[in-house]
C-alpha cells in the first residue's frame, strides 16, 4: 500500500484548520489512512486503498479531508481553459506505446517541499497505477522551454543524441538503455522494438524517451519553474486520463491553473484533461440491503454529499456524480462503501449471523491430528519446519539423484527455491541446530509435501507425510521400528517391511514400508556419510510414511 510522507503544518494549511496529532488518527479514517509514524511535524501515512491514486498525495488527501470537515464544496469543480497548444500523435507509435495525452499548468510556485510531493506522487502513480511504467509513464517539463506543437513519434535507437536527466553528456537512446540507471530499469518495455518512443518539440528539442527518461534541458523542474507541461504515455486511455486528472488536480491545490491541450490522433482529437464529473447510478434498495441500514432518501443524499458525491433520486435509482480523478468506481458497491464510511463503520451495530450450519474438520486433517497425538504419546516432540527448501538439502546431502521436483522460478534466495517432496531432510536440518541439546532427541512432523502429477489440475498433488526421527548414542533400527509398529498397528494398518538399498540409509538397515504391495514409506538408520553431510555426530534413525495413502 502507498505510504505518503508530508508535514502536518502543510496539511493544516491545505485543509484550512489546525489539526491536533491526537485527532489525526480519527480523521484519516475517512481516506482509509493509517498513521505509520509521527516525527515532529513529519508524518508518514499509509493509504490502504491501492485503487485510489487521488489519495496518494497530500494534496489529494487534504482535499478529501477538507470536505469531510465541512470546509469545502461537495463536488469540487475545476475550471479548465484551453492553453491553445497541441500534442501531435504520429502513427508510428501505435505498435510500441500507442497512447499519449497532456495538460498545461500555469502559474505554479513550487517550493522544495511541494516539488518533492510532486515527485512522490509521480513515483506512486508510476509504480502502482502505472504498473511500473508499463501502462502509465509521466513526463513533466518546463513549459517555457518548449516550442509547440509537441510531437509524439518514434526514433531510431541510434539516430538522435540528447542529454538525459542526471547525466551531463549526450547519449543516444540505445546508450541510455544500456548505461542510464532508468534505462536499465525500464528498458525492457521498449527494447524489443525497432524504434523507440520519442517526445520532441517543433524545434527538435527532445522532451523524453517515454517511458524511460526526460532530457535535462526541457525535463528538469525547479522551484523557478512557473509553467508546466505534462504528458502521459501508455496503453489505455482511461488509465492515462485518471493519472492525468490526479496530477493536475493535485497541482491545482498548489494554486496552479489547469489548461487543456489538444491531442491530435490520426482520426480523432481529444481535449485533455477532462475534469467533468462522471455519473453513476445506484439502487437504493440494494444499498440498504448490503448496508443493513434503513436509510431514508434524505439520509442517502446527506451521506453521499459527505463522501463527495452529488446525489439525486431519479425514479427508483440514485444518480450520483463523482470527481473525474477517481478510479475506483467499478460497481455500485464502491459507492455503497463510501456511504458506510460516511455513516461511520463504528456506528453500525455488529450482528452475528444466525445461520445454522454444522462445523467440521476436514477428514484428512482430522486423521493427521489423531496421528500427531499418537506419536506424541510415544515420546516424540512435534516440530514445525518450512516446506520451502533447496535441492542441496533434498538430494545432495541425502546422497540421492535429483528427481522431478516443484521448483520456484523467482526465489528470493537459493536456500528457498524448491518445495519439498519429503520431510526427512527438514528433520535432519532441525537436529543440526540442536547438537548441544540433551539427548536422546526424538522429533516428528506431519506436513504436506508436493508431488508432481501431470494429470492433476495444478500438475501437482499434496501428499501429507509423517516423519519420525530418533537421535542418540544408541539410536537404531530396533527402537524406530518399534515406533513405526506402534503407529501403524494402532491405526489398524497391516504392513510389511521389505529390505532395500537406499543411499540415505545404512545398507542392510533400511526397508520399504508396504501395505499390500503399495509402497507408503521407508525406514532405516541414517547413513554416516549423510550424517557427516549434515554435520551431525549422533547415530540417527527415522521413518517417513505418506498418510495420504494410509487414509481410509
Amino acid at each position: 500500500m502507498p505510504t505518503v510522507q508530508f508535514n502536518l503544518s502543510d496539511l493544516e494549511n491545505l485543509v484550512g484548520q489546525s489539526i491536533k496529532s491526537s485527532e489525526l488518527e480519527e480523521i484519516v479514517l475517512y481516506v482509509k489512512g493509517e498513521i505509520d509514524s509521527i516525527n515532529g511535524d513529519e508524518i508518514k501515512l499509509d493509504i490502504k486503498d491501492t485503487n485510489r491514486p487521488d489519495l496518494w498525495s497530500i494534496e489529494g488527501i487534504a482535499r478529501d479531508l477538507r470536505r469531510y470537515l465541512g470546509n469545502d464544496e461537495i463536488l469540487k469543480s475545476f475550471n479548465v481553459d484551453s492553453s491553445g497548444v497541441s500534442l501531435e500523435i504520429d502513427k508510428k507509435v501505435e505498435k510500441v506505446r500507442p497512447k499519449a495525452i497532456g495538460a498545461v499548468i500555469k502559474d505554479v510556485s513550487l517550493s522544495n517541499y511541494s516539488l518533492k510531493q510532486l515527485i512522490q506522487l509521480q513515483e506512486k502513480i508510476h509504480f502502482t497505477h502505472g504498473r511500473n511504467r508499463e501502462e502509465v509513464a509521466i513526463g513533466v517539463y518546463d513549459y517555457d522551454k518548449l516550442n509547440f506543437p509537441i510531437i509524439y513519434t518514434t526514433v531510431d535507437p541510434e539516430g538522435l543524441a540528447f542529454v538525459p536527466l542526471d547525466f551531463d553528456k549526450e547519449m543516444t537512446p540505445k546508450e541510455i538503455l544500456k548505461f542510464h540507471p532508468k534505462g536499465r530499469e525500464y528498458g525492457h518495455l521498449i527494447n524489443d522494438y525497432p524504434e523507440y518512443p520519442l517526445m520532441i518539440d517543433s524545434d527538435n528539442n527532445v522532451l523524453s524517451i517515454p517511458p524511460i527518461i526526460n532530457s535535462t534541458y526541457t525535463g528538469k523542474i525547479t522551484t523557478n519553474t512557473e509553467n508546466i507541461f505534462i504528458e502521459l504515455t501508455g496503453k489505455y486511455l482511461n488509465r492515462l486520463s485518471i493519472a492525468l486528472n490526479v496530477l493536475v488536480t493535485a497541482l491545482s491545490e498548489r494554486n496552479g491553473i489547469i489548461q487543456s491541450v489538444e491531442v491530435n490522433y490520426q482520426k480523432e482529437q481529444l481535449i485533455t484533461p477532462d475534469l467533468t464529473p462522471k455519473k453513476f447510478s445506484i439502487n437504493p434498495h440494494y444499498a440498504r440491503k448490503i448496508l443493513g441500514l434503513d436509510l431514508s432518501k434524505d439520509d442517502f443524499i446527506l451521506l453521499l454529499n459527505k463522501a463527495g458525491y452529488e446525489g439525486k433520486f431519479k425514479e427508483d435509482a440514485i444518480i450520483v456524480e463523482y470527481p473525474a480523478y477517481r478510479n475506483d468506481l467499478l460497481h455500485e458497491r464502491d459507492v455503497i462503501e463510501d456511504i458506510a464510511i460516511a455513516y461511520g463503520i463504528n456506528n453500525i451495530l455488529p450482528i452475528y449471523p444466525e445461520i445454522s450450519t454444522i462445523g467440521s474438520i476436514n477428514p484428512i486433517e482430522d486423521y493427521s491430528e489423531t496421528i500427531r497425538d499418537l506419536v506424541t504419546g510415544l515420546g516424540y516432540q512435534e516440530i514445525l519446519t518450512f516446506s520451502l527448501t533447496n535441492k542441496n538439502s533434498l538430494f545432495d546431502k541425502m546422497k540421492l539423484e535429483e528427481s522431478n521436483i516443484c521448483e520456484i522460478a523467482n526465489p528470493i534466495s537459493s536456500n528457498w527455491s524448491v518445495i519439498r517432496n519429503w520431510l526427512m531432510p527438514s528433520l535432519l536440518e532441525f537436529l543440526t541446530y540442536n547438537q548441544h541439546v540433551e539427548f536422546p532427541q526424538r522429533i516428528f512432523e506431519v506436513a504436506d509435501t508436493v508431488k508432481i502429477d501431470q494429470k492433476a489440475e495444478t500438475r501437482t498433488v499434496n501428499i501429507k507425510k509423517l516423519s519420525c526421527m530418533l537421535s542418540d548414542v544408541n539410536a537404531g533400527y530396533e527402537e524406530i521400528s518399534s515406533v513405526l509398529y506402534a503407529v501403524l498397528s494402532n491405526l489398524g494398518v497391516e504392513f510389511r517391511l521389505d529390505p532395500f538399498n537406499h543411499p540415505s540409509f545404512i545398507t542392510g538397515r533400511a526397508a520399504k514400508i508396504l501395505i499390500k504391495n503399495k509402497e507408503i514409506g521407508c525406514i532405516g538408520e541414517i547413513h554416516p556419510s549423510v550424517l557427516n553431510n549434515w554435520e551431525l555426530n549422533m547415530p540417527t534413525a527415522g521413518f517417513e510414511i505418506a498418510l495420504t495413502y494410509l487414509f481410509p
Binding site: 504498473r131 510415544l378 495444478t458 500438475r459
Partner: protein, 411 residues
C-alpha cells in the same frame, strides 16, 4: 526355594541327554557323527555318559560299557519341578549342572531392620511386615524427563480451528500449488496488478502451467475482467488465459474460498481454511516467506455489513479474548465494503486482529453465486506471538529443541 533353570525345564521335557544317548546305543557301536545328529545336546550327553562309566569312545565310534542302573537324576528333576523333596546328593548334582537354581530369598537390601525398596516377592510373601520402609527425601525431584509434546504454534492453531468448528465452520483444504486463475483471476484481481508481478508473487519454473477449469467458468471470469458484469465496468483490458494457467505456490487461502464457491451451489454455508501460503517477502523478525493464514467465508442470502462486523466481533472475543474492539474502513482487492478490526486484549493491548469484507459481485457472479458472501481473515501470527511469548515471527517455526521442550502446554 528351588526352581528348574531353562535348561532343566528342557531336559524334564526331552529327557537328560546322557540318558538319551545311552538309549540310542544298541549292542553294536555307533558312529559319533550319527549320534551327534540324533541327540540334542550331544556333547553334554557324552560327558555325563562317560563320567557315569556307561560308554566310551573308540576311534570314530561310541561303545556301550555297562548296564545303566539306579540312575535317579531324571526322577529328582521331576520331583523338584513339583516342589517335592529329593536326595541331597542328586540335588547337589543338579545345582552343579545348573539344571536347578536355588532362588535367593527376598530380594532386598536390609539396613538395620528397614529396607529401601519393596519387591513383588516381599508383597506376595507378606514378609514386608517384618521391615520398615525407609523414608525418602520427598522434597527432591527425580531426573528430568521430556515428554512428547505438540509444537506450540500448531497447538495454538488447533485451538483456533476448534473454536471455528464450534461456531459452525467447515474446513476447506487444497493444494499448495495453485493456478493464477484460482489465486488471482477468479478473485477479480486484474492480470496487470502489481501484486501479480514477478517481485510480489512466486512463480514456478517446474511445472510451469496448470490446466484451466471448464470453459464456461473461464469465459465468465474473462468477461468480468474485460467488460465487467453485474453492472460493473470491469477492468477494461485484454485477459490472457496463458497468464491465468501459470502455476504458483498459493499466496493466500482465498483461492480455497473461490474453489468452494465455484463447486458449491447449495447456498448457505460457513467455511474456513488454515492455509500454508507463500510470498517473496524479506525474511526478518516480522515477515515470513512462508506462513499460515486462517480465513474463510460465510454465504447466505440475508448477509449485510452489520453481519460482517458481527463475525469479526465474535472472532475477536472468542479467539483473541478481546475486551474492546474497533472497526476501521479498509481496502482488500476482493471485497467491497471492507473492514479491519483492531482488538484490545487485557494483557497485550491493541492489535490488528482481522479483516473482512463482502466479496465483490464481479468475483461471485462468475462463480455462479448470486447471494452475498462475507470473506474474513484472522491475523493469527501476531496473536500467536503474544500468546506464546515469541518476539521474532520466525520462531513460530522454532528450530530450538530446548525451547520446544520447555514450552508450556497451557495457553
Amino acid at each position: 526355594m528351588l526352581i528348574l533353570s531353562e535348561e532343566g525345564k528342557k531336559y524334564l521335557k526331552d529327557g537328560l541327554p546322557e540318558v538319551n544317548l545311552y538309549s540310542l546305543l544298541d549292542k553294536d557301536p555307533i558312529e559319533i557323527d550319527y549320534a551327534k545328529d540324533k541327540i540334542k545336546n550331544f556333547s553334554i550327553g557324552l560327558i555325563w555318559g562317560k563320567k557315569n562309566g556307561w560308554i566310551t569312545i573308540k576311534g570314530s565310534k561310541i561303545l556301550k560299557l555297562k548296564q545303566k542302573e539306579g540312575y535317579t537324576l531324571p526322577l529328582a528333576l521331576a520331583q523338584i519341578s513339583k516342589g517335592e523333596k529329593v536326595e541331597q546328593q542328586n540335588l547337589d548334582l543338579l545345582i552343579k549342572r545348573k539344571l536347578v537354581i536355588k532362588e535367593k530369598k527376598a530380594n532386598y537390601r536390609k539396613i538395620g531392620g528397614s529396607i529401601t525398596s519393596l519387591t513383588p516377592e516381599l508383597i506376595q510373601t507378606r514378609q514386608w511386615k517384618e521391615f520398615n520402609l525407609k523414608p525418602y527425601n520427598v522434597k527432591a525431584v527425580g531426573s528430568r524427563i521430556f515428554p512428547g509434546k505438540r509444537q506450540p504454534y500448531t497447538r495454538f492453531i488447533n485451538n483456533v480451528k476448534r473454536k471455528l468448528v464450534e461456531l459452525g465452520f467447515k474446513e476447506m483444504t487444497g493444494t499448495l500449488i495453485e493456478t493464477e486463475f484460482w489465486n488471482f483471476d477468479a478473485l477479480f484481481q486484474p492480470q496487470n496488478h502489481p501484486a501479480r508481478d514477478w517481485t510480489s508473487t512466486y512463480k514456478l519454473k517446474n511445472p510451469e502451467f496448470g490446466h484451466l477449469p471448464n470453459k464456461r467458468l473461464v469465459d465468465n471470469v474473462k468477461n468480468s475482467h474485460e467488460n465487467g458484469i453485474s453492472g460493473s465496468r470491469g477492468w477494461g483490458y485484454q485477459w490472457d488465459p496463458m497468464k491465468a494457467a501459470r502455476l504458483m505456490p498459493r499466496a493466500h487461502g482465498t483461492c480455497l474460498s473461490a474453489r468452494t464457491l465455484a463447486s458449491n451451489k447449495e447456498g448457505t454455508g460457513k467455511y474456513f481454511a488454515v492455509a500454508r501460503c507463500y510470498r517473496p517477502d524479506v525474511l526478518d523478525s516480522t515477515h515470513l516467506i512462508e506462513f499460515n493464514q486462517i480465513e474463510g467465508i460465510v454465504v447466505d442470502e440475508s448477509l449485510n455489513l452489520s453481519h460482517l462486523l458481527g463475525i469479526l466481533e465474535i472472532f475477536a472475543k472468542e479467539i483473541a479474548g478481546a475486551e474492546k474492539i474497533r472497526f476501521f474502513p479498509d481496502y482488500y482487492p476482493f471485497t467491497e465494503p471492507s473492514v479491519q478490526l483492531s482488538a484490545k486484549h487485557p494483557e497485550f493491548g491493541w492489535m490488528e486482529f482481522g479483516g473482512s469484507g463482502i466479496f465483490r459481485e464481479e468475483l461471485t457472479k462468475p462463480l455462479g453465486i448470486n447471494i452475498p458472501v462475507i470473506a474474513w481473515g484472522i491475523g493469527i501470527d501476531r496473536l500467536a506471538m503474544f500468546k506464546l511469548g515469541v518476539d521474532d515471527i520466525r520462531n513460530l517455526f522454532s528450530k530450538d529443541l530446548k525451547w520446544l521442550r520447555e514450552s508450556k502446554v497451557a495457553l
